[in-house]
Symmetry: C2
Amino acid sequence: MLVGETAKRSCSTVATALLFDVFGTLVDWRGGVIEALRTFAARTGISADWAAFADDWRAAYGPSMDRVRRGEVGWQNLDALHAASLAELLERYGAGDAGGEERARLVKAWHALRPWPDVVGGLERLRRRFIVASLSNGNIALQIDLRRHAELPLDMLFSAELFGHYKPDPQTYLGACALLDLRPERVMLVAAHTGDLLAAQACGLQTAFIARPLEHGVGGAVDTGSAAVDLHADGIDALAQRLGA
Amino acid sequence: MLVGETAKRSCSTVATALLFDVFGTLVDWRGGVIEALRTFAARTGISADWAAFADDWRAAYGPSMDRVRRGEVGWQNLDALHAASLAELLERYGAGDAGGEERARLVKAWHALRPWPDVVGGLERLRRRFIVASLSNGNIALQIDLRRHAELPLDMLFSAELFGHYKPDPQTYLGACALLDLRPERVMLVAAHTGDLLAAQACGLQTAFIARPLEHGVGGAVDTGSAAVDLHADGIDALAQRLGA
């Protein structure tokens, strides 16, 4: 039942727990961040291409985590990385005068994002049959706010912060499996990002790709998945259907 | 509003998050464990005083954690501690023949306990106004099962396992506050056990005592709280009332 038409390896083991990537997979970070930037613009009278700003902010995320992952800087959680990249971007976009309270409010925009329309219902269905948890690079305080704001019915929040490692480091996938007290083959990572999925697969987890063609907006980059991933679905509700939940 | 008649210190700060002890405070461990032992007895034909067995099992918990806390043994999660003390008790109660599957089932009884009647409704009320999370010595896999079984509406599960320290070590209270990104004075520990509350208070947390006179059964030991604790309530629903939620 776990094996779809696109599966390239056999999944004879039914998963016990599903781990969900959050930004992009469960919530629309881009829409929410652009909205917060426009509210900031209305308050401060600063004008800029806020969609480009949001994209640049998200683009800074990988390199800033990589500096932590390579040990060039000590552990910093995602709020701290967002605050640092925001400071650079405000300068670059001619908004370097923005005060501390405005900056804090913008960093908090990542705590209050909307779920994609298929998410809450899909998770409710899956939760009847599987343990459902997040596995996100977002810090715990951020994920708690997001869970409350988006009403995500998750049994547990797993964060890079608990392991002192960011995805795609193996410590994150294997750390979550250890806390679940499950062998990796009993756990499935669900994500809209092929890199995340292949890293989890290398740790022995099952994998499901969720198509989110609008994650980066109309005309933006699209991740179309990989034949190596066990399962592809168009949303969380479609995944529930595929998994018989 | 946070200061009740029994409060001995002033709580000028309103808490942002409430951390709940689990065994005894939210769930009736004794009733559930006795029930599982009686089912085990019916299956195996072994007879014993199962209420006394449950009490002895719970009594083994403190000393077994203390061995971990003093560093006499390496980290072991609560499932492992329960399994070890169960083995000793089965021997002592003349049930040393019990097989591995029966033992595993009994250890799992701690994953499927019933909440006290005031808990689910009380947490729902509190959750509208506060972040609500557990802070338990139970390992994450155990707490996930418990959360699902008892339908506890908690925003996050914090466990001793995340900090490599058992309560009442300060690392647990301060570790949860750090992950919440809140100063200890913005966090309130809610528990039915005075020792837990005083340890949290020493770390700067606010404290609320919940009376659970039947935690140890009819005629059992009763914790009646301490004048040093900020707030006393007869249940989680009564706590919600007191906190204006």
